[in-house]
């Protein structure tokens, strides 16, 4: 068929809107991530084996200074949870900067879908690698280092984990909206948010070790209370090292989840308008 001989483009093709469009967008944006990981499998080594080794370093530090066994478990748990924090930082928050660099951001904004759906798709797409990383670190770490888990309530554990994830990804969406305005600084802010968050959120030690106000302030990051509650629920000495009771932490996490999701929706819209006003959607300031 020669060009221009016949063009099949019937007018009025059906287009979904609302929730259906949202879901389509989420799945479509997740697709490149999932497929990319299938087609380029080097991440299996780099994204799992290397972090596993790095986590082990902290285990041996605790062993070198004679820490109780449960602290080894804290490191394994913290190491597993870094996967989610890094996914939020690099595969979601600062990802809009990369999309701008590659020319896709303008196309996403111009389409009738929602930026929240795009971000959720990115996060879900990276979830395979993230979850595998967390699982492998947990399973292998527990096995290598003989970590003893004593789960007091599976229901509460599940609730804590899910609420932490919802709140965390809501927070990630809020960050993403801020990153709409940034260019190269996006990379640096994401980089800056790694170690300070590991420290403040107590990835490798109980936050009860900090004074009350520091720990309370750090609780704005969902992983802080999430990990504190999980430590109390799965380690024998967990309850004695908890910052607040598990039910209270579940309550706060619920509040954070709602706050961040609502905040993300509002902030994404506001920042998108601001970025459009200032011409930041398509500029490329490398």
């Amino acid at each position: 068929m020669a060009v221009g001989e016949r063009v099949f483009m019937a007018r009025g093709i059906r287009k979904n809107t609302g929730a259906r469009l949202f879901i389509q967008t989420v799945l479509a944006r997740a697709y490149p991530r999932v497929i990319g990981q299938q087609r380029e499998k080097s991440w299996v080594f780099f994204d799992i084996a290397l972090p596993m080794i790095a986590v082990s370093s902290y285990v041996f530090v605790y062993r070198a200074i004679g820490a109780p066994d449960d602290y080894v478990g804290f490191v394994v748990m913290g190491g597993a949870m870094t996967a989610f924090w890094l996914n939020v930082l690099w595969s979601m928050s600062s990802q809009l900067y990369w999309e701008k660099e590659t020319g896709n951001l303008g196309l996403y904004i111009m389409a009738p879908n929602s930026l929240m759906a795009i971000l959720l798709g990115m996060a879900l797409g990276g979830m395979l690698a993230t979850t595998m990383r967390a699982l492998v670190i947990t399973v292998l770490g527990s096995w290598f280092f003989d970590v003893n888990f004593v789960v007091t309530s599976y229901f509460q554990l599940f609730a804590v984990f899910m609420l932490t994830m919802v709140a965390l990804y809501g927070m990630g969406m809020m960050f993403a909206s801020l990153f709409l305005l940034l260019s190269r600084e996006a990379w640096h802010w994401s980089n800056l948010a790694q170690e300070p968050v590991y420290l403040a959120s107590g990835f490798y030690f109980p936050i009860k070790s900090f004074n009350f106000w520091i720990a309370a302030g750090a609780s704005i990051i969902p992983l802080t209370l999430g990990m504190d509650a999980m430590r109390q629920l799965v380690f024998e000495t967990g309850p004695t090292l908890g910052f607040a009771s598990v039910p209270l932490e579940i309550g706060v996490l619920t509040g954070l989840a709602v706050l961040f999701l609502v905040g993300a929706r509002w902030l994404l819209r506001y920042m998108e308008r601001l970025a459009i006003r200032e011409g930041r959607i398509t500029e490329s300031r490398r």
Binding site: G4, R6, R11, Y31, L107, I109
Partner: protein, 334 residues
Amino acid sequence: MKQAIFTENLGRVYKLRGGKKEDPRELVALDGVNVEVAQGELFGLLGPNGAGKTTLIKILTTLLSPTTGRAEVAGFDVDRQPEQVRPRINMVSGGESSGYGLLTVRENLWMFAQFYGIPSKIANARIKEMLEIVGLGDRINTKSSDLSTGLRQKMNIVRGFLTDPDVLFLDEPTLGLDVGAARDVRKFIRAWMEESADRTLLLTTHYMVEADDLCDRVAIINGGKVLACDTPANLKHSLQRDALFRLEVSPLNGLSPEIFEAIPGVRKTVHRPRDGRSVLEFILEEENVLAAVMSSLTENDLTVMNLQKREPTLEDVFVELVGKSMSEVEHGGG
């Protein structure tokens, strides 16, 4: 007739980095632009690089807010009602690198179709058919990173048409394409427009031939301002009263072509060096003036090797309006 695109006194000013408070650096990209495009029209925006074409498109596609004025697309305000505008439009830019290299052509196009809510079955059928039409049918399962620039641009063009928008914006769509591919794209555009009367297309280009060939009406833009807006035929007819001649002469060797404009009856002279010769294009008030021009050439020891009388082109219209050719504007600014 319904208006698909409407702008009223549209302006956009960019604040440049490095400016001081007392001396802020600004760039006026658009200034008082008034454009009306009727539904069903193929409208061209013609101007050199830096004229403001892309800025205008960005505003109309809701990616940039205007600083002054307003714009409507498909009946909705682009600044206040972007959510209403977006389902009705699409855009393709020349030289764009959209999508993901690791995905195949089909996968990339499917993904973008999903963002517009097109069900997968319908999307895949349209993708297959449209790729056949543009000659990419056999590359449907090729990774887009493995495509050449020209084929990649064809894929991008399919992306734009795939969602069957009411208003489609093409920003230099044939940039970087070879002659054959560019011709295919123009055929495709024409066929798409002819198929339905309620489709509207706004095309920006700095290729005169493209604007002349495709567009129902053309707006000539330079320095952020629309200088003229009419059908290509009418724009060229405005110069019909003038006589246009193209002369190939021996090299000017430093002689300024502006000396010829001192001759009474010479409106404009444009000089282009080429292959060791000088090409001089004259816009004369009437044919008789040619004799004076020839005398002047002889007095300045210039040999005439070729002489042609021309029909006016859009390039001539541009020269008439701006005072310089498009390439002179791009090289020298303003």
